[in-house]
């Protein structure tokens, strides 16, 4: 179970990322970040241990 992201979490992460964001803006971001984290959790359930990232994709490998 993913831990829910809070405004405090966002504030700390923003500082660490070198972003100067007012609480008002962080508040607006909270819903989107929460949704994104939820989506990642859903995606995590789809992958097996041996699944490699698609970044190794070779565009020339045919269909």
């Amino acid at each position: 179970m993913e831990r829910e992201i809070t405004l405090d979490n966002l504030r700390t992460m923003a500082q660490l990322a070198g972003l100067k964001l007012a609480d008002e803006e962080l508040q607006r971001l909270l819903a989107g970040v929460t949704r994104s984290k939820k989506q990642v959790a859903e995606l995590r359930a789809l992958i097996a241990t041996e699944s490699e990232p698609a970044a190794t994709f070779n565009a020339a490998d045919g269909k």
């Binding site: 994104s36 990642v40 995606l43 992958i47 699944s51 565009a59 020339a60 269909k63």
Partner: protein, 500 residues
């Protein structure tokens, strides 16, 4: 032929007329510039108009054609570019204050290829900011209006390309597509766009949004015109690390071979029936289209839509992470220069972890295989291009709405598949198979008008608009316009089949 009839020619028709000397490149360019001057203050398609350059190029094309130097079907044809294609000496803004006065010192590979074939550059077109914001509310350039109804959005992010083509302000355009940015405005504006296979068209000199999802591609008013542009811009480019050294087929030459026997997969269950944004009218029209395709000899098979639905989620995660990574420094140093919409979307990426990003890329690989497995049973997938018709413009469209608008296109962006999009019906096929998909999308004989002449885009006045014989009755409102299918009239939205 009137000036405005000139503006609504297809590239194919214009090229033929140039060779018959019915008009000259200078006359075509002049007609378009005049139309832009009279209409673009209502539509806001152009950020930068390169009138002098266009006329210079037109004169050169005229001389060359006269002297027998023929560079091909785009020679002397005026086109316009989404304003994220870098153009040496011409500002490239990405519709953003961040790059408001940026003048690149080199030209994108695709644009150079168009120049080499004698295409004429009319200017740079508006878009969603950095191809990721919504319609502009606080960018230095106004939001683009939909010519069919200026109160409605034209779709994005290649908004200016879709609107300019629908309004008869250019003959062809280059858009870009990361999650639906060619396909959505093509649908909303009733034109044609193609998101090619990843690696088919160079992205060198195209300002990135998301490296592993970005595609450059053509937009035009007919499938054949898109094929002409794609033929010109496709091919290996050593300057683009994702470019594929794959043979480029003769796209145009493959058109018209029929749809009989084509196996069409519809990923309805678990995908577009679960996206609440798909409205009843869209689905009804889509179902009618499938029936017509069956009548023409295709077979329709329902396939599992779940992988497509998950793929959309992977696309969103990858997109925000890569977009943030590209813009990180600017977001740290001058966040106020970004429009509020694009800033908020990009900043989501700051709060996702490296593990989140890699998870999405791992899921992408898994989903890619699951989706590709369908190609043992079907040749193409079909869905509506957008889950609903264009909605009214509003000062702020929430992120969730933007994602819904692209809900039927994002999945395909992330699995590298090509997606030729005949105005409302989205067809996707396996990698490098754009040729056969286009063939199939072309064959159902012209479902409707080859250009939006049956009803004038509302940004145009009667005396300024093309007066070609409408293919269908003008009595229907835009969302119920009739289209002629093999001589029979059926009702369909203009975004559905209006260009086949």
């Amino acid at each position: 032929m009137s000036q405005n009839e000139l503006c609504y020619l297809t590239i194919t028709e214009a090229a033929a007329g140039l060779r018959r000397k019915e008009y000259s490149p200078v006359e075509l360019t002049g007609a378009l510039l005049k139309r832009i001057e009279s209409l673009d203050d209502k539509l806001h398609c152009f950020i930068t108009l390169t009138a002098e350059l266009a006329l210079r190029q037109a004169k050169q094309a005229e001389q060359e054609l006269r002297s027998g130097k023929d560079r091909g079907p785009l020679h002397g044809i005026p086109i316009a570019l989404k304003d994220l294609y870098m153009t040496e000496g011409i500002r490239t803004t990405c519709h953003s204050a961040v790059l408001e006065n940026w003048v690149p010192n080199f030209t994108a590979t695709t644009v150079a290829k168009l120049e080499d074939t004698g295409a004429i550059l009319l200017g740079k077109l508006g878009m969603h900011e950095f191809a990721f914001g919504g319609p502009s509310v606080d960018a230095p350039f106004p939001a683009i209006r939909n010519p069919w109804n200026t109160a409605h959005i034209p779709g994005g992010s290649s908004s200016g390309s879709g609107a300019a083509l629908a309004a008869g302000l250019c003959y062809g355009s280059l858009g870009s597509d990361t999650g639906g940015s060619i396909r959505t405005p093509s649908s909303h504006c009733g034109v044609v766009g193609i998101k090619p296979t990843y690696g088919r068209v160079s992205r060198h000199g195209v300002v990135p949004l998301s490296w592993s999802l970005d595609h450059a591609g053509p937009m035009a008013r007919t499938v054949e015109d898109c094929a002409i542009i794609l033929q010109t811009i496709a091919g290996y480019d050593a300057k683009d690390p994702a470019s594929a050294d794959a043979a480029v087929p003769n796209f145009r030459g493959e058109i018209g071979h029929g749809i009989k026997g084509t196996r069409i997969g519809v990923p309805r269950l678990g995908w577009f029936d679960e996206n609440l944004g798909v409205d009843r009218q869209t689905e009804t029209t889509f179902n009618r289209a499938l029936e017509r395709l069956e009548e023409l000899g295709a077979t329709i098979t329902e396939i599992d839509g779940k992988p497509f639905s998950h793929a959309r989620k992977a696309n969103q995660t990858i997109l925000v992470c890569e977009a943030y990574a590209y813009h990180e420094k600017r977001l740290q140093q001058t966040p106020e220069k970004f429009g509020s919409s694009v800033r908020r979307r990009m900043l989501e990426g700051a709060f996702l972890s490296a593990a989140d990003y890699i998870t999405a890329q791992r899921a992408r690989a898994v989903l890619n295989e699951q989706i590709r497995a369908n190609f043992t049973r079907v040749d193409v997938f079909a869905t509506p291009s957008a889950p609903r018709p264009p909605e009214a413009s509003q000062p702020w469209i929430p992120t969730s709405r933007i994602f819904v608008l692209a809900s039927l296109t994002r999945s395909i962006s992330q699995v590298y598949l090509p997606s030729p999009r005949p105005a409302g019906l989205l067809m996707r096929t396996y990698r490098w198979a754009c040729r056969s998909a286009r063939d199939r999308s072309m064959k159902p004989p012209r479902f409707g008008s080859p250009r939006p002449t049956s009803r004038r885009p509302s940004g145009t006045s009667r005396d300024r608009c093309c007066n070609r014989t409408p293919a269908v009755s003008e009595s229907f409102p835009p969302n119920q316009r009739s289209n002629r299918i093999n001589g029979r009239l059926t009702k369909a939205r203009p975004s559905i089949y209006s260009d086949l």
